[in-house]
C-alpha cells in the first residue's frame, strides 16, 4: 500500500527530485549538528590547550552547551543599529548560509551517499564556497561601521588572493584523476591517496583553505584585536549566530574537500566509508582548531605576499610538473 503511494508520488515528481529534497534536509541536519559539535569542540580544544576544562556544566562534558548557547542566541533581541543600510544588513546573514548548503550537495560522504554527483562537482564546490565572501562584503558595507568595512575589504582581497592557489592546486589533482566529478576523484585514489603523490598541492590547498575560511593565522576579516569583531561587529542574536554557523560549516566543507581530494575521501579498510570520511574530516578540523590556538595572526600585506609571491608560483610550478609527468 505505502509502496504504491510512494511510487505514485515518485512518478509524478520524479525520483531525482525526491532524492534531492531528502538530501537537502539531510544536509541541513548535518550542517546544524556539525556547527553545534564544532562550537563545543572549539571551546573544549582551546580550553585544554590552555590547560583549562572548558564547558562542563551543561550536560556530560558540557556537550549540551552549544544547545544552551543557541537557545540564548535565539531568545536575544535582534538589534538593528541606527543608520545601517537595511537591505544589505538584513540580507548578509541569509546569503552567508546559501552557498555552504549547496557545497554540501556534491560531497560524497560514502560510496553511495551523495546528494548529487555532478560531473563538474569541483567547479560547483569552488564556485559556491567562494560566494561566501559576498555576504561578508554585504555585512561590511551594510553595517555602517568602519571596523566592519575594513574587515570586509580585507576579506575580499584575501579571498581573491587565496582562491587562485586553491584552484591551481586542485587542478593538478583533477589532472591526475582525469575527472571533475568528486566521486571519480575519490575512486581514483583507491591505490595511493593524493596526499602522497601530490604533497605540495595538498599543503597549498590546505593553507589556502584555512585562509578561505578566515581562520587564524589568516583571520584578518574578524581580527578581534584590531577590528573588534570585523565584519560582524554590528550583528547580534540570531544574525550573529548565522555567521557563526556559516563559519563552522565552511570549516567543515574545506576539510571535507581536503579529505575528498587528498585523503581518499570515504576510502579506508574495515570500517564503513562514512566513518572514515568523518574521521578524516574531523581530524583536519582539529588541525585547524589547533592552528587557531597556537598561532598569532599575520599582517595584511604579509598575507597577500604569502599568496602572490609564494603559493601561486609554487602551485603553478606544481601544476606544470604534474602535467609534464602525466604527459610523459
Amino acid at each position: 500500500m505505502t509502496e504504491t503511494i510512494v511510487n505514485n508520488i515518485a512518478d509524478v515528481i520524479g525520483w531525482e527530485t525526491i532524492r534531492t529534497v531528502v538530501g537537502l534536509v539531510g544536509v541541513l541536519v548535518v550542517v546544524v549538528v556539525n556547527a553545534l559539535v564544532l562550537t563545543w569542540a572549539e571551546r573544549k580544544v582551546s580550553a585544554h590547550m590552555q590547560r583549562r576544562i572548558g564547558p562542563k556544566e551543561v550536560g556530560p562534558f558540557g556537550l549540551l552547551q552549544p544547545i544552551a548557547d543557541t537557545v540564548k542566541l535565539l531568545a536575544k533581541e535582534l538589534l538593528t543599529p541606527q543608520n545601517v543600510e537595511k537591505p544589505l544588513y538584513y540580507l548578509a546573514p541569509v546569503i552567508v548560509f546559501i552557498p555552504v548548503l549547496v557545497s554540501f550537495v556534491v560531497i560524497p560522504f560514502d560510496a553511495r551517499l551523495q546528494v548529487k554527483d555532478i560531473n563538474v562537482g569541483v567547479l560547483v564546490i569552488l564556485a559556491f564556497s567562494s560566494l561566501s565572501v559576498l555576504s561578508i562584503l554585504l555585512a561590511g558595507l551594510g553595517s555602517n561601521n568602519k571596523y566592519s568595512l575594513i574587515g570586509s575589504v580585507r576579506s575580499i582581497a584575501q579571498n581573491i588572493a587565496y582562491e587562485i592557489p586553491l584552484l591551481l592546486s586542485l587542478l593538478s589533482v583533477v589532472l591526475m584523476a582525469n575527472s571533475l566529478s568528486l566521486r571519480d576523484i575519490v575512486e581514483a585514489q583507491k591505490g595511493v591517496w593524493y596526499v602522497f603523490s601530490q604533497p605540495i598541492a595538498f599543503l597549498i590547498f590546505f593553507i589556502a583553505s584555512v585562509a578561505e575560511t578566515n581562520r587564524t593565522p589568516f583571520d584578518l576579516p574578524e581580527a578581534e584585536s584590531e577590528l573588534v569583531a570585523g565584519f560582524h561587529t554590528e550583528y547580534s542574536g540570531m544574525r550573529f549566530a548565522l555567521f557563526f554557523l556559516a563559519e563552522y560549516t565552511n570549516v567543515f566543507i574545506v576539510c571535507a574537500m581536503t579529505t575528498t581530494f587528498f585523503l581518499g575521501g570515504y576510502q579506508g579498510p574495515i570500517l564503513p566509508g562514512i566513518i572514515w570520511f568523518f574521521a578524516k574530516t574531523y581530524l583536519l578540523v582539529f588541525v585547524i582548531l589547533w592552528f587557531r590556538w597556537t598561532f598569532p595572526r599575520v599582517r595584511f600585506d604579509q598575507l597577500l605576499n604569502f599568496s602572490w609571491k609564494l603559493l601561486i608560483p609554487l602551485s603553478f610550478l606544481n601544476l606544470i610538473v604534474t602535467g609534464g609527468l602525466l604527459k610523459l
Partner: protein, 524 residues
C-alpha cells in the same frame, strides 16, 4: 658631570640662578631658577646635551605658582631641577613643547589643573578633564575658571579630507588595555595620524594626596599602577623615608628587593600574555596567567592581597617573610626557568610572531630624550638606562645583574628586553635570597604621625614600565603640600603618535601592545 653642567650653565646662559643641591636630601644635583625670558634657553641647553625631561609639574605657593622642570641624563646621572615662578593671576609661561615633545602633554595637564597659559603651545586644551571644570582643581585658593575658557576636549574632529576617515580606537577596544582612546585618521589600512585621548580613568590621586596624611596615602599607589603595585608602593614609601630621614633595616631592604622583583615578573607576565594576544595568539595569555598566579600566590602568602598590595611601610614592611615564602619563591624560580623555554618555543621563535614584531614600531635612539621615555621602551633603543643601576635603592647595588638592551628599538627589541628582564629578575631574587640577612624588618623609631621637615624631594624607582618618580613638597604638616607622580607609561605613550604615523593599523596595535601601557597609571 654635575660640576661641569653648573659651570656650563653659568657660562652660557644669563638670567638664571644656578646652585648645587644636595642629592641625598633633595634627590637632584642642581637647582636652577629661571626667568620667563631664559626658560626656553635653559630647555635648549639641556636638549643640546640630550638631557630628557623627566617631569614637569607645578606647585601652588599661593603668592606665586612654581613650574618645576626635572631634567636628567640617560647615560650619566645628573638630575637638574629648573624652577620658574609665575604670577597667580592669569599665569602665563613660555612653552617648551617645540623642544621637548613630551611637554605637550605636561603643559596641557598644568593648564587644566592650575590654569597656567603656555604661550606658543599649539594645542592648549584639556588633557584629562573632558567635561570641563569650574575651578582649577590643584590651586590652593579657589580659583574659578574664566567663563570663556571652560572648553571641552575637542580633539575628535571628524572632518576628514577625501579618501580619509577617522576611527575611534577605544575607549572600548580589545587592544587598548583598558580605557585608552586613540583617534586615528586613516587612509584605508594606513594611519595618517594618531592622537591619544586620556582621562577616562582619571581619579586625581595627586589631589587625594593633599588631603591625607603620608600614612593614609599608602593604599593609593597600588591603584595608580595595578600590575606593578609594590613597585609604586616602594616609590612612595622610599620618598617619604628619604624626606624624613628614616633608616631602613638591611633585612627589609632585601625583602623589598625580592618582592618588588616578583611583582615585576608578574607585571611583565601580564604584558607577555597581552602582547601576543594583540597579535592574535590567545594561548600565551593563559600560559602567562598560569605562571603569574604562582607569583600572586607567593605574594598573597606574605602581603595578604593578590593585586593591590599595601605591604611596605615607612621604615620597613608590614610583616616579615617566613621560610615557606622562601621555599615557594625558590620553587617558582626553578619552574619559571623551564617555562621560559616553553615561551620561546611558542612565541619567540614563531615565524609569524617574528615577522609581525621585527622592524615595526621603530623608535630612534636620537629621539628618545625628547619624549622622556624610560624603562624597557628606552632600553630597546640601546640606551642602558635603568634606575636600579644609576641610582641604586633597596638592595639592588648588592646584587649582580645586567641591563638588557636592544639595538633597533622595534617591537621585537622591546619584547626581547622584557623577556631578558624577567630572567634578570629571577637572578636578582636568587641572589637576594641567598644574601638575606637576619634582623628586624622594621625600623624602630618611626613616629606614628610623620611630620617631615620643610623642603622638597624627588625620588624615582624603576617600575616595570620605567621611571616612576614621586615629587613631594612638605610644609611640615602631616599631609604633603604637593605630591606629584611622574609615571612612565605617560611619556612612553607620547611616542605612539609618532610611531603609528604611516603604519598599518595592525602594526600600530602591535606597537601599542609592546609598550605595556597601564591606563590608570597614565590618567592617575
Amino acid at each position: 658631570m654635575v660640576t661641569g653642567i653648573i659651570e656650563d650653565l653659568k657660562k652660557t646662559l644669563t638670567g638664571i640662578d644656578v646652585s648645587e643641591a644636595s642629592y641625598g636630601q633633595n634627590g637632584y644635583h642642581v637647582a636652577v631658577e629661571a626667568q620667563k625670558g631664559s626658560l626656553v634657553n635653559v630647555a635648549e641647553f639641556f636638549n643640546g646635551r640630550t638631557f630628557y625631561l623627566a617631569d614637569l609639574c607645578c606647585v601652588d605657593y599661593v603668592d606665586y605658582l612654581e613650574l618645576v622642570y626635572f631634567f636628567n641624563h640617560h647615560k650619566t646621572l645628573c638630575r637638574v631641577k629648573v624652577t620658574l615662578k609665575v604670577e597667580p593671576e592669569k599665569p602665563t609661561a613660555p612653552t617648551i613643547s617645540h623642544i621637548y615633545t613630551i611637554s605637550h602633554w605636561y603643559e596641557r595637564e598644568i593648564h587644566e589643573f592650575f590654569g597656567v597659559y603656555f604661550e606658543g603651545h599649539p594645542n592648549l586644551i584639556y588633557l584629562f578633564l573632558h567635561e570641563g571644570i569650574d575651578h582649577y582643581p590643584l590651586r590652593k585658593q579657589p580659583t574659578p575658571v574664566p567663563e570663556d575658557d571652560k572648553k571641552l576636549l575637542n580633539s575628535f574632529n571628524p572632518e576628514g579630507e577625501e579618501d580619509t576617515f577617522f576611527v575611534n580606537l577605544g575607549p572600548q577596544h580589545p587592544s587598548t588595555h583598558g580605557v585608552l582612546r586613540v583617534v586615528l585618521k586613516m587612509d584605508g589600512e594606513y594611519i595618517l595620524g594618531a592622537e591619544p585621548v586620556l582621562g577616562y580613568l582619571h581619579r586625581m590621586h595627586e589631589k587625594m594626596a593633599e588631603n591625607r596624611s603620608y600614612v593614609q596615602f599608602l593604599p593609593n599607589p597600588a591603584r595608580i599602577d595595578y600590575p606593578g603595585a609594590l613597585l609604586l608602593n616602594l616609590a612612595h614609601v622610599m620618598t617619604v623615608e628619604k624626606l624624613c630621614g628614616i633608616e631602613v633595616p638591611e633585612r627589609a631592604q632585601y625583602i623589598r628587593t625580592i618582592t618588588c622583583e616578583l611583582n615585576r615578573i608578574a607585571s611583565h607576565l601580564l604584558w607577555f600574555g597581552a602582547f601576543p594576544a594583540d597579535l592574535g595568539a590567545l594561548t600565551p595569555f593563559l600560559y602567562a596567567f598560569d605562571d603569574r598566579e604562582q607569583i600572586l600566590d607567593i605574594l598573597e602568602a606574605i602581603t595578604g592581597s593578590r593585586l593591590t598590595y599595601c605591604y611596605f611601610r615607612f621604615g620597613g614592611l608590614y610583616n616579615d617573610i617566613d621560610d615557606t615564602f622562601i621555599e615557594m619563591t625558590k620553587r617558582f624560580i626553578k619552574r619559571m626557568r623551564e617555562r621560559f623555554e616553553v615561551y620561546d618555543r611558542l612565541v619567540t621563535g614563531n615565524v609569524i610572531f617574528v615577522n609581525r614584531a621585527k622592524g615595526t614600531g621603530i623608535l630612534e635612539q636620537g629621539e628618545v630624550h625628547k619624549y622622556g621615555c624610560s624603562g624597557p621602551v628606552i632600553r630597546s633603543t640601546g640606551i642602558p638606562f635603568d634606575i636600579r643601576k644609576t641610582e641604586p635603592y633597596a638592595a639592588y647595588d648588592k646584587t649582580d645583574f645586567e641591563i638588557p638592551t636592544g639595538t633597533v628599538g622595534d617591537n621585537m627589541d622591546r619584547y626581547d628586553v622584557r623577556m631578558t628582564e624577567m630572567e634578570m629578575s629571577l637572578r636578582i631574587i636568587e641572589q637576594a635570597i641567598a644574601k638575606l640577612p637576619s634582623g628586624p624588618f622594621k625600623a624602630e623609631k618611626v613616629p606614628k604621625k610623620l611630620k617631615p621637615p620643610k623642603g622638597d624631594i624627588y625620588h624615582a624607582v624603576e617600575s616595570s614600565r620605567g621611571e616612576a618618580g614621586v615629587y613631594i613638597v612638605s610644609d611640615e604638616s602631616d599631609t604633603p603640600y604637593r605630591m606629584r607622580w611622574r609615571v612612565p607609561s605617560y611619556s612612553n605613550l607620547m611616542t605612539f603618535p609618532f610611531l603609528a604615523r604611516g603604519t598599518l593599523i595592525a602594526d600600530a596595535i602591535a606597537t601599542l601592545g609592546s609598550y605595556d601601557i597601564v591606563v590608570p597609571e597614565i590618567d592617575r
